[in-house]
Amino acid sequence: MNMLVPSALWWLLAAVPVVALFFLRRRFRVHEVPALVFWLQTERQARFGQFGRRLRRWLSLLVELLIVLALVAALTEPARPGTGRELTLVLDDSATMQTVEAGGRTRFALAKDVVLDRLNHAPSGAAVTLVLAGRPPKLLVSGETRPERVRAALLSSRPREVNPQFDRAIALAERRRSTRSTPLIVVSDDVEDPARSAPGVEWLGIGQRHPNVGIAAIAAAEGAPGLDIILYQSGCTGVTAVLTISSGERQLAQTSVSLQQGPTVAHLGADLAPGQPFKVQLGPPDAFTLDNTAYGMWPSPATARIDLVTNGNLFLTAALEQPDAELRTLTWPQWQPEATRIAVLDHPPPGLRLNRHGRFLVIGGTDPFGLLGNEPGREDLTPSQWRPDHPVLRDVDLLQWHVTRTAGFGSPPAAQVLVRAGEVPLIFSVLDRDDPTDPQCGFAAVFVNFDFSDSDVVLRAAFPVFLWNTVEWLIGRRPEDDQIASGTGTPLSFGARYSRPERVTAPSGCEVSAYLDEGRLTLPFPEEAGFYTAGASPHQAIRAVNYVPDGRVTGVAEPQSSIVAHTSWALFDWPYWLLLVAGAGMLLLVELVLFQSRVVRLD
């Protein structure tokens, strides 16, 4: 009998506190009484004699120690010595295993043949454990003795578009083996790293060395419409590649690029509409075709439609006039509220009453919504506290601001104060949206508790920054919306506006899970290239991802061939924490049953 985890014998020390607790709990306080006659007049006392009581007492300790021993035995994972009837294999199913070798077969298909060959030569009834080494590793079969099941599981597997994770895969396989002295077999196309040469592990190389050209990244071109494509070449020189960009069935542009060893930036001119998905194709195809195609989506920032209602504040007009903004400058009699436009209300007059629906920037004057309390105006204030992480105050320097007189707004309880001077709120926001994922629904407003004419804010460089931060926050636009969404690796991240985890549809049509990470939906393990779709509502976006490996030349070493067969069986296949919880529960049960029933009960 061998122990797979002999270090777990340290858990035997757990018997010490068990014994100590046993004696501590049973250390009865001696109390002398004149007579025991009435204490002894119980049925239980009469039934169990002194010997019985003593036996029950020590039985309690005995059972508790047996539980500890059983627990330690389970943790040490005892196993019989190998009998030559076990086969443990780790199969690399990472993306590079899709490389086409001479003869037109992929490396993964060749690796399957190697595994099947080992299976055919294994002794009859051998227990087979097969682990896939992609990220994350997967246990394909464990201790399976029926060859047909192993073959079916192997044939149903396919390479995943992920990097390999050999250390975890080998650790997973090690836990299924009976002894550490026998090697396990790793079948992979990536066996060159000497750091991976661990004792007890034998590597079987698959495939040949090939040169590779792939798309590493995509970015929006600066200065000219189109894309900058970053290509990476390894293992060859002087290759001329053809780059083609298409959207749907329509080809948009094509160019030829002469590549050098390492990275090369190629410009691909194309006039893409906002939100338009595209596909970049790199030709001619090489042995590893996965990184020859990239998918992306042109950014689609929301257009700012602004109504500036003012009595002639030129600073505001100048700051809001931007090329990508649709600005209307109106006087108060001319203005009619429209829910689809952002209203910048400069000094609303008294008596103005507005519904709480839409998006507003209210600068001084009076409260047109009846939302704010009235506070006395304060004079000579400078900001003392603010929220630099709020989007409205991003890149805004408030240190030089000076307010001569406030408008007397009191922030309601639901408001979020962004800037305050002592206890006086200078800038605060109120957000009351019906749909948290839709910035255009409900009511959103930013209140500036002073007129710009009563401050020197308009003279500061941060003034237009603050205004546009506020407009973009009211629109719901984010800085990342201006960037090209193109996946170039894992994990895939959606720059969409979601407030909770969503189901995302993979290119194959399967639904995959996503989680919310800092306001972005993130796919932990996208395993397919192509477009991923999140939801179907107008407020949910489609983004694309393409797996591009790191451009590494895939290579092999001289094949090694030796199969060490052994068999193993584990007493328990539970996680450690479950074993510990079970042991503690049994100890508690013994305490309750044996200890509590041992005492004298007068009733």
Partner: protein, 294 residues
Amino acid sequence: MPEFEFGAKDLRACQRLVYAARIATAAETAGGHRVRRSGEGSEFLDYRRYVAGDDVRRIDWTVFARLRQPYIRVVQHESVLYVSLLVDASRSMAAGTPQSKAALACRLACALAYVALGSGDHVTAGVFAETLGPLASDLRGRAALQQVVALLHGAPLGGRTDLAAAVQAFCERSRHRGLVVLISDFLQPGGYQEPIRRLLAMRFRVLAVQVLDAVDWGEGLEGALRLRDSETGQETEIIANEQHITEYRRRLRAHAEGLDAYCCRRGQFYLYAPTREECARLVARGLRQRGLLR
């Protein structure tokens, strides 16, 4: 026996007490107790009609000659009382606060002896545990109280209680019938019925004084305890909670009430003496209320 104090307060409480006359019916010789009895005596009380069975020698012939009817003279008969005090000196009597059960037992014995000696009765005192110890017999006169005190002081405290053996030894050594005062906690395993029955069979009157302390009622017991019998050393383990203590007290109360009922049914006397009570109060009130002293 532990140090105990039988002081002026106790003496004052016992100063004017005497044993009730009906106790003296067991007396044999002439003494200070006046019993209403027909026949010879020192003090005339009354006449009554002669009934069959009366001694014809007791007929007052002078009255007969005058009334032509036989009448018997009824006189005050004076008799003496023998009081025997048997005090439990086993180890279980050592417990108790503010005074030990043994100390209270000694004080009660002294008080009862003082009452008896003060009225000219005979007193016999002794202690018992596993068996009956030496007796101070036939003490008379208040000066003999010192002998009782000395006997109680000199007796060792320890051993197991064997009331039956002590009573049997007392019956064998006693020459006079009278009142036997058993002062004990009566918590011995053998029970109290058989010793009292033996005394009654020997025509003794019995006063059972049960001395108990708060510890006997389970006071202060809480948690995991190993209870050790102070006399036998026998042990048992309990988890003392309110339910257990209540049940234990119910059993002990039933035991004390059983002893009381046993004595009352047989025309005997019982006194419950908790250690928190003063000796003088127990004697002056408890025994007077029960008709033993007046």
